[in-house]
């Protein structure tokens, strides 16, 4: 496959770049509409920054079981599975902690604030995902008082997977969907998709081929803001401390059979490098990890620097 026989549409949403590429004459606008529609549904379901989203109704109704859309229920279930898989390292109950750290609005708004406009407060970390209650019969979600859900670690990647599958089913061919750097491929592709992997958008990249599955990058160098005390914060929180993760890796890029699995593994690597390394090995996932000094370590089938064209 070459660039000549594929069509790409990009736009901005969720404070990030969204991309959908299809092979052949596959109606790129139709593909983009599928992705946009799904993203709108997901936003109505679980946006932390929309007062009318199901997620915010659950958060504001802490202590009660709140009826939600099937999509919301599924995304909460997915987040809880991620928490269980990672032994709580990827925790969906860190919403209040993120707010206390200053991340209580769209990141563009947070970054645009004067540093002194809010006072950071330390809140205990997560670990309360075990207390989230699910009522499958009536599709209700309940959280304990004091807890707020944030599905940021899983909902975006899930959406990339689902969007790629829907576009592929609607239009056929091979499809690549990227939402904020979470990539999902669907359909058979004659030659791997050419993917530039970077710590943040526009930074120096290494080139890899992606034939199937998902690719996700998490980094403490993205989604940063300056707190009132002058400290630079980022959005990857260690549930054990309630503070921004300060582990061995600053950036983790992971390949997995889905973008969701890749994102969970890459987030986990930033929070708990040792446990995540065991997971990568056990599941046969490929990863490129960058430490605080910029040194790179490769896991699994991730191509060597010589194989990856830069």
């Amino acid at each position: 496959m070459s660039a000549r026989d594929s069509s790409t549409t990009t736009w901005r949403d969720w404070s990030c770049t969204v991309l959908v590429t299809t092979t052949g004459p596959r109606q790129p606008e139709a593909a983009a509409d599928v992705v946009r529609d799904l993203m709108a549904d997901v936003e109505r379901a679980v946006s932390r920054f929309r007062p009318d989203s199901d997620l915010e109704r659950v958060n504001d109704g802490a202590g009660r079981l709140v009826a939600v859309r099937p999509l919301t229920f599924r995304l909460v279930e997915t987040a809880l599975r991620a928490a269980r898989l990672t032994h709580g390292a990827v925790d969906p109950t860190l919403g209040a902690t993120l707010c206390a750290l200053g991340y209580d609005a769209d990141i563009a708004v947070v970054r645009g604030r004067p540093a002194s406009s809010w006072a950071p407060t330390h809140r205990p970390g997560g670990g309360r995902w075990r207390s989230v209650r699910l009522d499958r019969t009536l599709l209700r979600v309940g959280i304990p008082a004091g807890v707020r859900l944030d599905l940021g670690a899983t909902a975006k990647a899930w959406t990339a997977d689902e969007a790629a599958r829907r576009v592929q089913r609607r239009l056929g061919g091979a499809v690549l969907v990227g939402i904020g750097g979470d990539l999902a491929a669907a359909g058979r592709v004659g030659r791997p998709w050419r993917i530039d992997v970077a710590e943040t958008e526009g930074a120096d990249a290494v080139r890899v081929g992606l034939s199937h599955g998902g690719l996700a990058t998490s980094s403490v160098t993205g989604r940063r803001w300056t707190a009132a005390d002058g400290a630079v914060r980022h959005h990857v929180v260690d549930p054990r401390t309630g503070l921004p993760a300060a582990g061995r890796w600053r950036t983790a890029s992971v390949w997995a059979p889905t973008a969701l699995a890749a994102n969970v593994a890459s987030t986990w690597a930033l929070v708990d490098s040792e446990a995540a390394a065991g997971h990568l090995t056990e599941r046969g996932l490929a990863a490129r990890l960058v430490d605080r000094e910029g040194r790179v370590e490769l896991h699994g089938d991730w191509p060597s620097a010589e194989a990856a064209a830069s």
């Binding site: 958008e201 599955g213 059979p257 191509p303």
Partner: protein, 103 residues
């Protein structure tokens, strides 16, 4: 027991069976409606009000269960056979189709 008596006996069984089912269903509904959220503790497994028994859905997290994270069954095509590994390879020259980065 003549045919009329048999018919009456059968009607009673159906009637009582239907009433019993309605009572059980109402009880389950009331119990679910009064469930409250604990302050802490427990696990998401044992605090789930009802599990949908027997339902096996791929959640997108476990590579031993290839498929998709949807309600609509397995993926039509997530790639070549042996798709649980080997998804990344050396890059090729040319313009990029996409990029993976932190947002």
């Amino acid at each position: 027991m003549n045919p009329r008596q048999r018919l009456l006996a059968r009607s009673r069984r159906y009637l009582f069976g239907a009433v019993g089912t309605a009572v059980v269903a109402t009880g389950a509904f009331v119990a679910a409606a009064h469930a409250s959220v604990p302050d802490s503790g427990g696990t998401s497994d044992d605090t789930t009000v009802q599990q949908n028994q027997g339902e096996q859905q791929y959640d997108g997290l476990d590579p031993s269960q290839p498929g998709t994270s949807t309600d609509e069954g397995n993926s039509p095509d997530q790639g070549d056979s042996g798709s649980l590994s080997g998804g990344v390879s050396g890059g090729q020259a040319g313009s990029a189709d996409g990029s993976s980065h932190a947002s």
